[in-house]
Amino acid sequence: MTYSLICLPFLAVAVVLSLAAARRLPPAARRRRWLAIGFAGALVLVLTGVFDSLMVAAGLFGYVEGTRLGPTIGMAPIEDFAYPIVTVLLVPAIWTLARRRRARGGRGED
């Protein structure tokens, strides 16, 4: 249970920032952004299932008993899949927000 509760605030921040970034895109680009997040998210989730399992199997890290919900995909606990969900939402959102800010700043110097 502990692990899933730790994930929640990070998921919330990622959702809020991705919405804020999408609002700043023109309609066609916004539609492409959500589609791209869907496709890229599916890809990164599959990669997580494969490579997270390998990393757990290789003994790179472990999880303390009783902190997880229980279900796993391969050897990866389902909570680990919150990481790729957050990154596909959050990282492109920061990228878009940073570009917009820069473009606005540049116009101001005009």
């Binding site: 680009a29 990164v44 472990g62 990282v91 492109p92």
Partner: protein
């Protein structure tokens, strides 16, 4: 040397991702500062997440033969921030890459053969010439002129 397997694999993956990024001008060549900020800030957020997990006693470092064994903090191996950089970079390149494919597809549907070149030019000018060409105008120009 086996201790460097994981770190080496991560660095090789980041390098391969950079090749894809540069070849298709997706992130760093298109908007270096925004890309650095996105990957950097994303990594810091995930690092805070990891530290929360370690603090609440969820994660522990494995004693793997494939890892260097160097620790940055209790239960936080040297490899972890490198992995987080890779995950953020992969996510950025994947989203921007799919976006590019969707963009090209809609350009092809509009029958505009020069649309890729226009998109690239608009992308470049929004970086080098932001003072005179606000990105909003470029984006509008890009999305305009085709059926939606």
């Amino acid at each position: 040397m086996t201790g460097f397997t994981y770190l080496g694999a991560l660095l090789a993956s980041i390098a391969a991702m950079a090749l894809i990024d540069v070849r298709w001008r997706l992130a760093f060549r298109r908007a270096p500062a925004a890309s650095a900020l996105a990957v950097g800030a994303g990594t810091l957020v995930l690092l805070a997440w990891d530290l929360a997990g370690i603090g609440f006693g969820v994660f522990f470092r494995g004693d793997s033969a494939w890892a260097t064994g160097v620790l940055l903090a209790p239960e936080l191996p040297l490899e972890e921030p490198v992995f987080l950089v890779f995950l953020c970079y992969l996510s950025l390149v994947a989203v921007l890459g799919v976006e590019r494919m969707l963009e090209r597809r809609s350009g092809a549907q509009g029958g505009d053969a020069a649309s890729d070149a226009v998109t690239d030019a608009a992308t470049r000018s929004s970086q080098t010439d932001a003072a005179t060409r606000p990105t909003e105008t470029n984006a509008a120009a890009r999305s305009g002129g085709r059926p939606s």
